[in-house]
Symmetry: C2
Subunit: 250 residues, 2 copies
Amino acid sequence: RRDDGNLAKRLSSVKNVIAVMSGKGGVGKSTVTVNLAVGLASRGFKVGVFDADFHGPSIAKMLGVTEGLYGANDSLILPSGVRGVKVLSIDLMLPDKTMPVIWRGPMKGNMIKRFLSDADWGSLDYLFIDLPPGTGDEPLSIMQLIPSIKGIILVTHPSQLSEFIVDKAGNMAKILKIPILGVVENMSCFKCPKCGSTYNIFGEGAGEKIASYLKTVLLAKIPLDLEASKLADTGKPVILAGNNSEVEKA
Amino acid sequence: RRDDGNLAKRLSSVKNVIAVMSGKGGVGKSTVTVNLAVGLASRGFKVGVFDADFHGPSIAKMLGVTEGLYGANDSLILPSGVRGVKVLSIDLMLPDKTMPVIWRGPMKGNMIKRFLSDADWGSLDYLFIDLPPGTGDEPLSIMQLIPSIKGIILVTHPSQLSEFIVDKAGNMAKILKIPILGVVENMSCFKCPKCGSTYNIFGEGAGEKIASYLKTVLLAKIPLDLEASKLADTGKPVILAGNNSEVEKA
Ligand SMILES: Nc1ncnc2c1ncn2[C@@H]1O[C@H](COP(=O)(O)OP(=O)(O)O)[C@@H](O)[C@H]1O
Ligand SMILES: Nc1ncnc2c1ncn2[C@@H]1O[C@H](COP(=O)(O)OP(=O)(O)O)[C@@H](O)[C@H]1O
Ligand SMILES: [Zn+2]
């Protein structure tokens, strides 16, 4: 599964490649990815995001990008979204966004390789790769094709259910010798704006437990935020808790 | 991709096969599947659940089943959980549940076929199949291998982000000529137990919009429930809103 020279050449101008993974869907991987990317871009770093979730791409929408990806010679020219973050997403290539991408494993592995070999990122400080749920073709291809990857950031819900599934994703990284930069617990609790009571709607404790089980750090705990979902739908990402400075350190 | 005679024989004693799908992860597919299964079982129906989410199996845990799946002469003998619901899950075959299932597409398609050909359900009124996020190998195999499937139930979050991805899953079913029995919107709103204020944490409206776009019915809207996540972690599923009677009608 080693790549040809092209892929390595394309990534040679990228200082840090970081994949954002969880194993479990709907915990906030895309939200955390966009949050990190926009946070770092607004501090002057050059940042890109590759949405490797072909079946449920949401990065382009969250960054307010609806078009602008095109091919010229052998390269894919990438559009920029909020704060100039470059975006590579299948969503920008589908003529009809309501149509599903019904691909089996081998097609997904090939497309990841093609995208990374053709995309012209230019020079970047950070390239984030948003992975789909699961420990199948997409994360496996990314881990095998990019030996220079800096590591993965794991995102979890606070529940025990999420903890067990994110542990599996962490163990996948260990088996493939990919460093785990840290864990972000998202949707940690909800504070009622009216009366101030707090509720652990999705349980508690998974962030700490995963960090100690995988011997890594808990980078941040992000509460449920009333604006997050509405802003995601309109392509104006809200900067949730200050987890950007942790990544820089990681 | 037609199955051999064995798979059809195994399913000949099952009256209704229903797949629960969403395309998007973390919206509550497993919770809704378990809810439907336990709800129907407590009304006297014979029910089984096949967890086709190999990378993130949660059905067995939610139904309080930790062991009891074994092979005897070419058949898989299935354990029962809460209310006697039969469970088929990869989780019950893994010696170490913290280890990831790192399978590429072809392996997943083959395992689905093997499981359905070997599992001895006996006679069932309903067999629910919990699908993983995405429109890849697993849903494609299920739709191609079970021509007698009654249909799919789609589960969504209330947000626009979820609406767009669940529409894709619905269109996949249409392309493969699989009936859509209805849509369930989950995590619709949160009501503060202390002061009674309600909040649409994940937006609103996706359930109605998907039902009208796909020309199907909105079966139920389930609010965020403070007990749901804790009970899921302990294998005592809570019966959320009364969506069982709708399924019977569907
Ligand atoms: N901290 C948060 N507070 C409120 N809503 C959130 C938060 N994090 C994510 N969301 C919302 O939850 C949904 C799932 O998040 P998403 O980033 O798509 O998860 P994933 O990429 O893991 O599937 C989205 O609608 C998103 O806007
Ligand atoms: N209505 C609800 N209220 C509160 N928590 C819920 C609700 N529905 C699901 N959950 C919790 O949200 C998480 C995701 O649900 P799950 O059924 O695993 O989704 P999926 O199968 O779509 O990934 C679980 O921890 C579950 O307990
Ligand atoms: Zn309140």
